[in-house]
Symmetry: D2
Amino acid sequence: MHIGFLGLGNMGAPMARNLLKAGHALTVFDPSAPALAGLVEAGATAAASPAALARTDVEAIITMLPAAAHVKGVYLGEDGLLANVREGVLLIDSSTIDPHSAREVAAAAVAHGNPMLDAPVSGGTGGAAAGTLTFMVGGEAGDFERARPILASMGKNIVHCGGAGNGQVAKVANNMLLGISMIGVAEAMALGVALGMDASVLAGVINTSSGRCWSSDTYNPFPGVLDNVPASRGYSGGFGTDLMLKDLGLATEAARQARQPVLLGAAAQQLYQSFSQQGNGALDFSAIINFYRKQEA
Amino acid sequence: MHIGFLGLGNMGAPMARNLLKAGHALTVFDPSAPALAGLVEAGATAAASPAALARTDVEAIITMLPAAAHVKGVYLGEDGLLANVREGVLLIDSSTIDPHSAREVAAAAVAHGNPMLDAPVSGGTGGAAAGTLTFMVGGEAGDFERARPILASMGKNIVHCGGAGNGQVAKVANNMLLGISMIGVAEAMALGVALGMDASVLAGVINTSSGRCWSSDTYNPFPGVLDNVPASRGYSGGFGTDLMLKDLGLATEAARQARQPVLLGAAAQQLYQSFSQQGNGALDFSAIINFYRKQEA
Amino acid sequence: MHIGFLGLGNMGAPMARNLLKAGHALTVFDPSAPALAGLVEAGATAAASPAALARTDVEAIITMLPAAAHVKGVYLGEDGLLANVREGVLLIDSSTIDPHSAREVAAAAVAHGNPMLDAPVSGGTGGAAAGTLTFMVGGEAGDFERARPILASMGKNIVHCGGAGNGQVAKVANNMLLGISMIGVAEAMALGVALGMDASVLAGVINTSSGRCWSSDTYNPFPGVLDNVPASRGYSGGFGTDLMLKDLGLATEAARQARQPVLLGAAAQQLYQSFSQQGNGALDFSAIINFYRKQEA
Amino acid sequence: MHIGFLGLGNMGAPMARNLLKAGHALTVFDPSAPALAGLVEAGATAAASPAALARTDVEAIITMLPAAAHVKGVYLGEDGLLANVREGVLLIDSSTIDPHSAREVAAAAVAHGNPMLDAPVSGGTGGAAAGTLTFMVGGEAGDFERARPILASMGKNIVHCGGAGNGQVAKVANNMLLGISMIGVAEAMALGVALGMDASVLAGVINTSSGRCWSSDTYNPFPGVLDNVPASRGYSGGFGTDLMLKDLGLATEAARQARQPVLLGAAAQQLYQSFSQQGNGALDFSAIINFYRKQEA
């Protein structure tokens, strides 16, 4: 299949490579010349602009962009995709943005005659490279089925979450819970150790009890409890604190618009914000446990 | 073995019955005559007072009491256990109390020549009746091995958490995390549904993603997502909001004494307190999701 | 002076009337015909559109609009003020919006040759009617001096807060603190009364001690402590909970953009949001004390 | 009048000196020999123990002790005041403790035939030395009148707060509000400055608006806004963070016992706890603003 791909950053580039590996023809665009060159070298064709990409004979276009403003610009702008793409081309936005904006863009696409899906991912750059991402997809069931084989080249868990925007809803809801759980684990581990327990023994109790969660049994923030997690390598790699902050910002803003309280979600956002302000924004978000442990001079 | 058991309430009575079923001889005490009569009917011998119980030839004494004040009274009072028990009898306190008090009583016991374990449980009245409780045990390893076969008559998961008081530490740390996670799940589910998602679809996404936790995959608070949980029967049964409040009170007080911050733990305590003040203290703690959903008039 | 005025709602209408009373000639616009008619009856001239208003010979234009989207539309839209106004006309926006948007619009105005001030107000509809508003003004000092006599017809406290956008900064900072203080007073009063104190005695202690604040000594939320405040009339009138929510949304969003933590500010926003969700959004914000008091059935 | 005074620490010693200056005969006790010697040099008589002090012909006894455990020990212990004092002697406890304990001790005193007042102070060591403390007094009105002239030698604002324990209630309620307000001011000032405002201009706006409070207009935490406050001298002197933490611990514990939620009060406690854990417990509590400002390396 001939597929268009816009946005070749840390996530988009490996995703696009996996489409090439799966045998798809790929036309790509990114404002960064080196990013573009990388994909061309891997076998893709470069387009000169989003508009130029949209005017090729692609059957589907995937976008992976930093924020809602970019998504709106690329889809709705005067030289954007909708102004140039032919009817019927399937549009898939894998950016993580707020549900409201996702629905606004999807409605414009549908009005223009283009089916559209929001399909944000989880799994990070590791999952993008390995082709093991999870896609949370919002849109019509028929469009979802059409997209499934394409997405399956880039991920292994493809979930239909309901109508337009629901992929974004699922992602912000899950990640808000993740952000809260990680702080909960950090507080529980730091408290238990301060009261005299061994961290690994405590993690063992929690992981077989009602406190069990992914942040404890798979991604424990206390150094030495698990191997191969950021906590065992100085909190490098993983999912950065500032990325968690972005997702919590989307969650609390979506909650504000829905007039829905999220007291712990908002508290978690502020705690990561404090931690980031102290210079830790680039560390994996599990480093928040350092907020709860007396630091050595 | 001849065992003493003090405290025949909702938890203590079924625990004592399981000791009888396992073939132990049991001498019991409770200030409530009907509670005492129930166990006598089941085959136990009644003692007239804690002191009288302590002066029998029991090899071990188990206590299951409401709060630290009762534990201190029963163990340290003038007519209490330590003043009357012979050296060497194994003392096991299964009450949930603060680690500081547990260590104070254990130190007094050891000074008197009695090995002592703190062994709080999780699993609720259902687990107590079924003999499937989890015991989180603090104390010397040799004493733990001595207690293990006794505890195995009442529970199926017997965990040694380290020295004296660590059973209590494990319990308050786990339950604080549980209290936080449940509110996190409540906020995420209520937000997702308010933004247009189906509750079961959202729970399905979370349970296979990084938000996964016991409060979501085993005890989901949203009505209709899981069968056989309090949410599917009007939040009756289960683990009452006021019991969660008690445990969060122990956790924040232990944190205060350890000069350890627990920001989300304290926020969770206050939210359950608000919910209880509005008249919901007897509902299962997962009912906190109603705090986040517009109630019909 | 001939002045233009756009936005004749609950705040704008009485402000415009005070300009008429002060002897200014007024050309007004509002999309609501009855709102427009009311001002015409009072002596103003109606314009058919923002563009039409901008093309008159007004020396200054004041806008009083609900949110940033309206302000951007009215100033920056194709048929908006900047596209039609002549150079040099002084532009004053009294809407309460986020500082970032205020600075964006001001920069566009200056680029077009029009001095612009952001001048949000406090004092409510009562202050608007009485002409006793406080104006917090951001912009060039010279422009501020030019605006001062106009603003003095509508308010009695005209404060220069620094460069463009700083009027909005001052307002969101003050109102965030107000939102926090009111909840602080609510918690302190409810706690003291629950512990057995008389509300008026407690307020008396606080008002002469270090807890003293406007929310306690001028606007106490406990019924019966002060006369002539919303608490003494069932929380009607005053500054609605949903208006406080709007301002806290601006504050936390401005904080997010500045990467600045506001833990209590965000907690306050969520508490008012809960209170609003329970059906209390139209009550004065001091009614938040009901969140802390057991309600009768 | 012959008065007894127990507890000659940082607060008690200067208070006792002021009683001597006012012409009272003073018998004093403190477990610290140097503390005792200091007062003897100033003209007081030393007692060998609380019991010995109680057996003199004092007409009133004042205690100033660190915490509830000390108060209970001194009043209720076997060698304590109640076991040795003659009926009718007026007992005044100026310690800051929880209202529940204050009421328990007062009830025991009354049962023994001694009128008792709880009379915690505000004003710090500076107020103690200058004789300008505020006394918040709980107890019978007649006893309050009897105590007033004594207290007036040590303070200038003597407030009757109602029955036994209400002095403590007033103090914890006021100080909880103070702890919240200070963080509110810190957040508002740090946010405003981060968004481009001058700190003094912002403080000026707040101090004439609805955000006005003691923490802003009398004790502003931003360096350079006010002279002669801790913020202008590196946060030395003043009211230490760890003392604020103690009072917030009393407030949240009193709230827990009263089943009363205090969401911002608990959040404030946790924030000061974090700040203290980072090594700042000895700084004036207004230093909490550093929690909100990017620190230089």
